[in-house]
Subunit: 319 residues, 2 copies
């Protein structure tokens, strides 16, 4: 039995995962906002303790965590958890489970591994697993193996440049990055700036709650609100252009898209496909397919467990 | 001793390569223009025969060839050699050297392997080896291993999108691709359109000869001709943007640039660095270095030989 952990700025989740990838037990808790390092660690320990209490021998611990991080050492500094800066998460967990291997990777990379192992990417040799949510990230699987890159950050499609001249400023300090256009908050901010007021009934929208807002924007786009349609179109095209670039560079079969915005439907995926087909014209690139991720909420745990349960595909030590 | 072969639209080259990567003998011949399949094959045979005559046992044959091709089968249809369409180059060579392994890959990928094995990329774990010439191509090395991609085309940075809106048409059918802006002929055509007339003394320029023309444009840019400077700046910035995207996506240490345009000096590399640093802002991406390729004319042969002599790094069977 593997203990899988998924740590993000909004929630922490943990679960027990069997050899076949089934999550047999799980729990989650909101990440305490503005908490210091000790409080964050205590919250995590209190989450995993009841799960592992009755278990005879945790065979390994797999962790997905928000970046950036020092990889593979597992010292984490998640962007949205200021209390952890260089926090030795891997070492702390190793101390708690002596004798068990602990493997930690970026959360977006774990999601890609999960989709390849048990989700929409099964059977693909060369894929990019994307997440489009508060940020835009991803993980690369090439020739059936997870690619780490020099610092464990390969697959980071959010900073592929899609609007080099006059594109919006990005949180990274650059401009015109995919993330600066297609992440949920950027998308809704742009729509509000263009005069959008959430009006689709029944979504109970609060502009302060960014996840709800992006959902409302998608609903309004489906209902035909012209600004919402334009906002989704802008993000969809940016995604299609970045995917075309990634397909040419990495010779991909498949791109899976998870995260909140992957629920947006035709208003996002229509323009995405249109821009992708416009730009992915070299013969080998035309085969690429784009599919929604299929694993839902448990994907993060399944991917973290895959680092151990299918390590021959999803874990490579640095050469 | 390995027989290495490098087949392109302009020339065919062949050489004997020792285990340490030293080219001990070589020959080259212009590729007969407009020739049919048989003539092309005969030209190649006449090139390799004198080289291998005295050699006791060719241990293997490594081939770099212009794409596209069916890989790893080695049926080639080089863009600039219309006489070969689906030509079974690998099988033909295997028939000529019975018992010897024959490995064939895209020429740009062989150049990347060469630079990583014996050139400017030695010691880099994660690099992109680029060629900027009549076309723009490349090969990816990640975690010290050559990446093939699903069809043997990984590294094809020429079709990364750098000017999505209103960018120039590309030979691939798309628009705004790096290649459409930065390949030599596109660069000089743009300059001529802007009123450039080659004037740098001593370059003996003929506008019909594209290689000479790109060299003359670079020389004029170094001499301060304003249109030539703008042309190089435009190509350099496009290269920098594409390299930033590739660095984020593949978490690279190093990009090497070979091919004729890599000789253009500061007028190209200045704007390249400027655009790269403007866009490669995420912490892990800042470490990337751009260097000229170092192997020169023999790189193609060395890379083709590397497919066999260092196969553990540069050759992977499909899973």
């Amino acid at each position: 039995m593997i203990l899988a952990i998924d740590v993000g700025g909004t929630k922490m989740a943990a679960g027990l995962v069997a050899g076949d990838g089934t999550v047999t037990a799980s729990a989650r808790v909101p990440t305490p906002q503005g908490a210091d390092a000790t409080t964050l660690w205590k919250t995590l320990v209190e989450l995993i303790e009841p799960l592992t209490e009755g278990v005879k021998g945790v065979e390994g611990v797999g962790v997905g965590c928000g970046g950036p991080m020092a990889w593979p050492d597992g010292e984490v500094s998640p962007l949205n958890m200021p209390g952890w800066r260089g926090f030795p998460l891997r070492a702390r967990l190793a101390g708690r489970f002596p004798g068990s291997p602990v493997r930690l990777h970026n959360d977006a990379i774990c999601l890609a591994a999960a989709e390849h192992w048990k989700g929409a990417g099964q059977g693909s040799a060369d894929m990019l697993g994307m997440v489009v949510s508060t940020g835009v990230g991803g993980g690369l699987i090439l020739n059936g193996r997870l690619i780490n890159g020099g610092t464990g950050n390969a697959g980071h499609i959010g900073h592929v440049v899609v609007e080099p001249d006059g594109g919006p400023r990005c949180g990274c300090g650059g401009h015109g990055c995919l993330e600066a256009i297609a992440r949920g908050p950027a998308l809704t901010a742009w729509a509000v700036e263009q005069g959008w007021e959430p009006k689709h009934p029944g979504t109970g929208v609060y502009l302060e709650d960014r996840a709800v807002t992006a959902r409302a924007l998608a609903a309004d786009a489906r209902a035909g609100d012209p600004v919402a349609v334009r906002a989704m179109r802008r993000a969809g095209r940016a995604l299609g252009i970045a995917i075309a670039s990634a397909t040419h560079l990495c010779d991909l079969d498949l791109v899976t898209i998870g995260g909140g915005l992957s629920q947006a439907g035709v208003p996002l995926f229509g323009p995405l496909e249109e821009a992708l087909r416009e730009h992915a014209r070299v013969e080998f690139a035309r085969r690429v397919k784009v599919m929604p991720a299929s694993l839902g909420q448990e994907a993060g745990l399944i991917g973290a467990a895959a680092l151990l349960l299918a390590g021959e595909s999803y874990w490579t030590e640095r050469r």
